[in-house]
């Protein structure tokens, strides 16, 4: 506890001393591999103490962005600052203030969970005793207290991820990078990691999270940057992004596919038809009024419907809408 209080104080001091507005900032990052640009003018701005989601299809440049921001990779052009320090000029300062949890559980399989944390603690320049205490603290916090002596190769997937997360938190870093932290986990493992991330943010950590799961971004992220082909294509809160693809829609599933044209006519000129799912949908600006009108019209014209509902766009639709055009 005292450690995290100190960490929070420390972070407040940064903010006041340097007038920092964003904890993570990137401007025009470029990273080329031969003719292919993994990052092509990538911009990012993450305010303090928020969870920021980085969304994008495979190969969009999410991991490359994280690797540049964590000083693992040198950009070809552009600048980035993390916790107030330039990632290329002050790599050492940045590394003292970040935690990285990558796509693979980067752990020594042959060692126990405790030995892993102690090793990473020593390499983070904690004194032996402090490293030992911190390892114990983190094991308890992530519910690994009684398995700390077991070799990591005997851990379950969820346990590994939690230990990996713990390893990223040894110095109570103000900034944490999570690169697809739940890929390959079962629903229970995913829920465990989500709970851990929420607890961190409650403690005041700034988190940059890349993910392929839109539900994950929806659940965890305050704001989301959608990346495609190495560039930011949209930025906003999940709600704002959903609004960009349009507001609520009324959706009718007809019983008999032959009724589709008639149902579409009822919904007006903006109606969209999907014969595969026997579905017709149209904007519903007046929500309940639109819904009751549609139900009434359906009954009046004798069209049998299996389902009639008002639906809000999902993040999946936002994602497809934003990344389909460009691809």
């Amino acid at each position: 506890m005292p450690l995290s209080v100190l960490g929070a104080l420390n972070r407040r001091l940064y903010g006041t001393l340097y007038g920092m507005t964003y904890t993570i900032e990137a401007h025009g990052l470029v990273k080329r591999y031969g003719a292919r640009a993994a990052l092509d003018g990538f911009d990012l701005a993450v305010p303090e103490e928020t969870v920021h989601g980085l969304l994008g299809p495979n190969g969009a440049g999410k991991t490359t962005a994280v690797r540049v921001l964590t000083t693992l990779l040198r950009p070809d052009a552009g600048t980035a600052r993390v916790a107030g320090f330039d990632v290329t000029r002050d790599g050492g300062q940045v590394r003292r203030r970040i935690g990285l949890v990558g796509q693979h559980a980067a752990l020594d399989e042959a060692l126990s969970g405790r030995a892993n944390l102690e090793m990473f603690g020593r390499l983070s320049h904690l004194r032996p005793k402090a490293a030992r205490l911190r390892a114990g603290e983190l094991l308890d916090r992530f519910g690994l207290g009684d398995t700390g002596r077991k070799a990591v190769k005997d851990y379950s997937g969820g346990m590994r991820r939690r230990l990996d997360l713990a390893a990223g938190l040894i110095l109570s870093p103000p900034v944490l990078f999570l690169d697809e932290p739940t890929t390959g986990l079962d629903p229970r493992g995913r829920a465990e990691v989500w709970a851990a991330v929420r607890a961190l943010v409650a403690d005041g950590t700034t988190v940059l999270l890349t993910t392929q799961y839109l539900e994950e971004a929806d659940q965890l992220a305050h704001r989301i940057t959608v990346v495609n082909e190495g560039r930011q294509v949209a930025e906003g809160s999940p709600e704002e992004l959903k609004k960009t693809v349009g507001g609520d829609r009324v959706e009718v599933v007809v019983h008999d596919p032959a009724d589709l044209p008639a149902a579409a006519a009822l919904l007006g000129p903006a109606a969209e038809t999907d014969p595969d799912t026997r579905r017709v949908s149209a904007p519903a600006p007046d929500r309940m009024a639109t819904l009751s009108a549609v139900v009434h019209d359906l009954a009046a014209s004798g069209i049998a419907a299996d389902d009639v509902a008002i639906r809000r766009p999902t993040l999946d639709e936002v994602f497809l809408h934003l990344t389909r055009g460009a691809a």
Binding site: L72, L73, R95, L100, G102, A110, L111, A115, M119, F120
Partner: protein
């Protein structure tokens, strides 16, 4: 603490990781230590009967060759460990920590040298048990051990470079197999003079052969009459070869490590 002491402390932490592996997995350590002993017994008792060393005992001839061969086979351990850390993301985690970046390499190097000393000790004791001995006194024996470790040290750099370059597990397996011909294409087990001409020349110039021949001289063990230039200058070559290998692979390793951030 200043930069240098941190670099040493961090290197030691990485080295200690290997020592912890030994205690966590003693079976693997014992198997690794007994493997060269098994090869030794194989040649000393199963095949050695059919090999006659002019003017000497085959086991006396064999031991320095086994020592040198063990140095070369140590290469496998180095590149396998490095490649594993790179693919598992452990190297990236190290690189994202505020530790001295040199420690990733220096820690590995120290760990491998420690393993080598352990392995060499086991092999020397086994040698003594099968009737081998160092006949030129303690000083020369120590010099021979020094030359053996000097070869292993040079091969560390080759191993680090290979591990950083070849990352996928299949390639690592293939490379492990390729180390074998390097070990056998030498004077470790038999004389290059008994091989077909061009193979004999390669075996004669194999750095392993120079170190083995130099160790035979220093231990006072019988060699095989061989009048090639390389055989006549074994001591000089045993000093020079590792220097050449280090001069090539140390800069390459440093560059490959830096290129991880490209």
């Amino acid at each position: 603490m200043n930069r240098l002491t941190w670099a040493l402390a961090d290197g030691w932490t990485v080295t200690r990781r290997e020592v912890t592996h030994w205690t966590a997995n003693p079976g693997q350590l014992v198997a690794g230590l007994l493997f060269p002993v098994m090869v030794l017994l194989l040649f000393a008792y199963l095949l050695g009967g059919g090999i006659a060393v002019p003017g000497g005992d085959y086991r006396e001839f064999l031991m320095p060759g086994m020592f040198a061969m063990t140095m070369v086979f140590g290469l496998e351990g180095t590149f396998t460990a490095i490649a594993n850390d790179v693919t598992k993301g452990v190297t990236d985690r190290f690189r994202s920590l505020p530790m001295a970046s040199s420690a990733v390499v220096s820690g590995r190097a120290a760990a491998d040298m420690l393993t080598t000393v352990l392995s060499l000790t086991v092999l020397i004791v086994s040698g003594l048990a099968v009737g081998w001995s160092a006949r030129n006194g303690f000083g020369d024996a120590l010099a021979a051990v020094g030359l053996l470790l000097w070869l292993r040290f040079a091969l560390l750099w080759a191993g680090i470079w290979l591990g950083l370059k070849i990352r996928n597990p299949e390639a690592v397996m293939a490379l492990q197999i390729l180390v074998w011909p390097i070990g056998f294409l030498s004077n470790a087990i038999t004389s290059p003079a008994t091989m077909p001409g061009w193979l004999g020349v390669i075996a004669d110039w194999n750095p392993l052969s120079s170190t083995a021949a130099a160790a035979r001289e220093l231990f006072g063990n019988p060699g095989w009459a061989n009048d090639t230039w390389a055989a006549a200058h074994a001591l000089e070559l045993a000093l020079a070869w590792p220097l050449v290998i280090t001069a090539i692979f140390a800069p390459l390793s440093v560059r490959a490590y830096r290129n991880l951030s490209r």
